[in-house]
Subunit: 344 residues, 4 copies
């Protein structure tokens, strides 16, 4: 039997989430997220972030959420700065350009943007013959598994406020970032330091759903019109409300992310013990070890994972992803196979 470390959205949802959906199934709810479950979920999230002056919208997927957050904030000539590896720059089939905005991808070594990167983009764009940078987009954890420290996020936030740039944090994998052993950020910090950010459910145990928290007044305005226009207003919006209620009751969101990190930690230790190195140094639920191709090809017979990039003719960086659903026996089997292959 094949076991998959291919991504964190291979299974459905945590059983408690399904259970909650079952229990509410025959209730008659108001449509389009105007229901009481959605209201309650928003209250729970507001408690987590210790803020009441935010608007919260629960949206089905990450690309939608990125597109809507950017579209709501920018005028037609404005652009968004991000790491070259940023999800919006590479893996959304030009969704941001499709709504009219240039994405200014900046080369980084670790997927993390610094104020120096942002300053470089500002320096380059100086007059009306060029787009006007107006937003900074970062992900936490990043697309390569790395994380921002509180000090780093504070520096970016201060820079953005000084330069009148919006700061948008993509939290598709925020659960894993916040429960990583090396994390020193809280949801409240993130709410305080950004203009908008989202808490990813899809990759952390919900069937689907991202909770977008908007604190900047200019971006809040008429946001539901944009959701509807983009086809992102779920008729049965209560499905999102019910899921986020469950995620933020009794700590489920954080418990699931911790499980994913624990599974990743075991994989990381096992890989290190076998002498492998990592292309990007991640403490979250994505790992990027470099394997000899022979080892990789043997592992591919029993495990699913993706090839990330070619290091040299004999080595490849692969990506292993864990999740709330990753099983201990899956991890054990992988490490046993690895050990055996590496001993040869």
């Amino acid at each position: 039997m094949i076991y998959s470390f291919n991504n964190d959205y291979s299974e459905g949802a945590h059983p408690r989430i399904l259970q909650a959906l079952m229990e509410a199934n025959l209730q008659q709810n108001i449509g389009y997220s105007m229901d009481t479950h959605s209201d309650h979920a928003k209250e729970l999230i507001k408690q987590e972030i210790q803020r009441d002056d935010v608007d919260i919208h629960m949206i089905v997927g990450g690309t939608q959420t990125n597109t809507l957050g950017i579209k709501a904030a920018l005028r037609p000539h404005q652009a968004v700065i991000c790491a070259e590896t940023g999800h919006i720059n590479v893996h959304e089939t030009g969704a941001i350009e499709a709504v009219g905005h240039k994405v200014l991808g900046q080369p980084t070594t670790d997927g993390k943007l610094t104020t120096a990167h942002i300053q470089a983009a500002l320096d380059w764009h100086t007059d009306e013959h060029m787009v006007q940078p107006k937003m900074v987009y970062i992900s936490n954890s990043t697309e390569v598994g790395t994380q921002y420290t509180k000090a780093e996020l504070e520096a970016i936030s201060a820079f953005c406020r000084q330069h009148n740039l919006y700061l948008f944090l993509d939290g598709a994998r925020l659960g894993s970032a916040l429960t990583s052993r090396t994390n020193d950020l809280t949801l409240a910090d993130i709410a305080r330091l950004t203009d908008l950010f989202y808490i990813g459910g899809t990759k952390n145990g919900a069937l689907f759903g991202e909770a977008l928290i908007i604190s900047h007044p200019a971006i809040k305005e008429d946001f539901r019109f944009l959701i509807k226009q983009h086809g992102a207003m779920l008729a049965k919006g209560f499905l999102l409300g019910i899921q986020f209620e469950e995620l933020f009751q009794n700590n489920l969101f954080f418990d699931m992310a911790e499980h994913a990190n624990e599974m990743a930690d075991q994989l990381r230790k096992g890989l290190t013990d076998c002498g492998y190195e990592f292309h990007w140094d991640s403490r979250t639920n994505q790992l990027f070890p470099v394997l000899p191709n022979a080892v990789m090809e043997e592992l591919e017979k029993d495990f699913l994972f993706s090839r990330q990039l070619t290091i040299d003719e004999n080595h490849t960086c692969i990506r292993l992803v864990t999740s709330w659903a990753t099983r201990q026996d899956g991890v054990d089997a992988f490490l046993a196979a690895l050990k055996k292959l590496s001993a040869n």
Copy 2:
């Protein structure tokens, strides 16, 4: 207790759908609708429509599906003709214009487009100073509950092919249309007569999901790029596959729609028996009776429904919607209350 006839998306999903999701919950599936459930669901749909040369994409919601179908088909200067009451013209917050296309809404009396309406739009748009009509969009059932007959759809289809216009049928409520007593169309007919159409799951017992069937080769090309770009590619696409598998196994899709129609038939008969008339003559799951305001206001104390339009200062056309989940006791209670109010 309030009972709602407000819409057909107030409850979650048919229990068999939830059951199927539960059973598959811990399977590891490939993401982005490349999984085996999705493949199987497509096979089942192909059998229903008796066509193998179509592309099928399962998409979360109707506005997304409309936007994608139109965006895929039209070049920037091209426009879509529809009834003035068409969903894309009124109730999608300008989603079609947001992707660049003018919607040419034609006034109708019953929400149904005829070849005369289409011809009128063509007559008006004659040169490059005006948009170029290139697609006809119809809904079955329509936004006002009416249906197309086979003869009507054949006439529109022939006209479109003759004039090199794409024909797009929005089937958000196709289940109710096809199981209406007055229907003479089959899914196979619709596949044969249109260039693309969709089968609505959201309003007929799925948690969410619309199955778009594309038969025109030009619209098929690279469609998955457009889905992804629009943020409409569900990470856990297998959730759509599992639901449509269940909908098209053992007739569930049609059984649920028949239930909705049966409930509507009972309401229609009860309203007629009490002497009320209908603003639009519908045989599907949406009813548009005209009520004295006093009666309406009394009913509103115990039932949820929407006010559709003001007829005169004493009368209002309301909308009652039934669904797979409508309960017999809800219908009985409504009719009993109506009878009592009408007897006064």
Copy 3:
């Protein structure tokens, strides 16, 4: 020889405009409208409108100017209300939709919008499932030659300010409107009552060029970025500056428009004397007489004009347009031919 009343852009430019271009031809000017001619032209226009707190941009064509003014003012979900006959609704190949905005064309009898029309559009659009009307677009003179009185424009302006709607006046034929015998508006009135408007040069003796005057601060912001992005920033922007300098020195703009109106007055009188009626009652440089088809077809042998609409099987409404360049002998020849044909 054929004489044309087909439009007001058949000839080049008034000889004084060409002369000014010749005289400045070998000067070295700064590009992109940052030159001293453009500055001077803006000063002259500010004097005309008795306002210094406006931004002025000179742009090559009307469709560009309409698109830019609307794009600068609206967020993605917002729409513009206009007469169904409005240029942006019919004759710009969906330019406004191409930048994402729905155009809400309201049926009128005379091409003029009233507060009742605007209120009707507002009444229809009530929530986030529909576009949000945010701008009113009118033309003066209108597409059917009619004009707004001061009282009418004041009423619309007050309504728009009360309802937080931008008011945009398309002045492609503003010269003819302002010099019409029935006009009681001044450029200063228009600047005071609108949020943005433009003064048309193309149809009044310039080679090309429209001067857009923006008084609303929100629309002013970063407008040059939008001009450049749309490809509407002329490299040799001084060509626009030189032309508008000449137009607003020594009254040339108004003198040319008066000539066009005088020619139209003669045509109107001649047509009336022959017993013909007008489909729209215009006192500007566009006339819409209804002619027997036999008369029309004879006239078409010697004169160019357009057929506007079919009145009945024997009568057609045609359009005659005069301009700064219309020759007295052209008008005389037309009226002589008409008289002869009508006498039969």
Copy 4:
């Protein structure tokens, strides 16, 4: 008196162009480029390129022409590959993104794209989660004054045809490229090797105007609709026709470009003689010498030119541009000043 080498669009037009406009000024022409001058100009261009099976559209400006050519060719998910320095990537305020397409800028050393660059972009974009590269955009001469050889253009063309990519050549400065001493391309070669390209008039002696030549049938279709929609259809289109008639009668287009190159050759020689080097090696009408800051600042007192980039704290690369209008005495004065400063 200050003399400007700031750009090639500081003056109006060659006197023969103005003369032609004067002579035709009072003719009554049909609007929107349907006139006989435009027809004749197209015939002259077809003779130059020795092709009759092309569509030609004359358009006011370069950004418009780039946007239209790309918009006409690409579907929504498709992208255009260009040099990182490409005009569409940097200097058009995101015009291409504004119509929905990602620009894939590739780093180059000399502003010229090679098949290796194109292959790299293809290698990176492999599935529907990324945009689909579908067009290659190059400029000749490039934004840094360099040129393509016939062999280079043939290689790119063959590669594009093999990989089903459209090839678009921006010829804003094509005159200077084709008359450069190091050129071995003809207009006929370019027409044969590309799918669309344009011949720039604005930067080579016309008041304004670019002639876009489309040879690929898919891009030709309905192109005038796109022109109009974008606001790029000049009402007095005959102004473009008259200018291009004059440009391609009696060799004026080439004579003017040769003059610009001759002036540039003199500047290049003078700079070289004084011991200066060039940041990019150009044989066209743009020169990029590296000057000591002290020399540059002295020159700035009497001459206009732009600072292109900072080389080190004591040196700057400046840009000098010559044109049809550059005067011998301007060049002489510059070189005299340079010599004097360099002797110190």
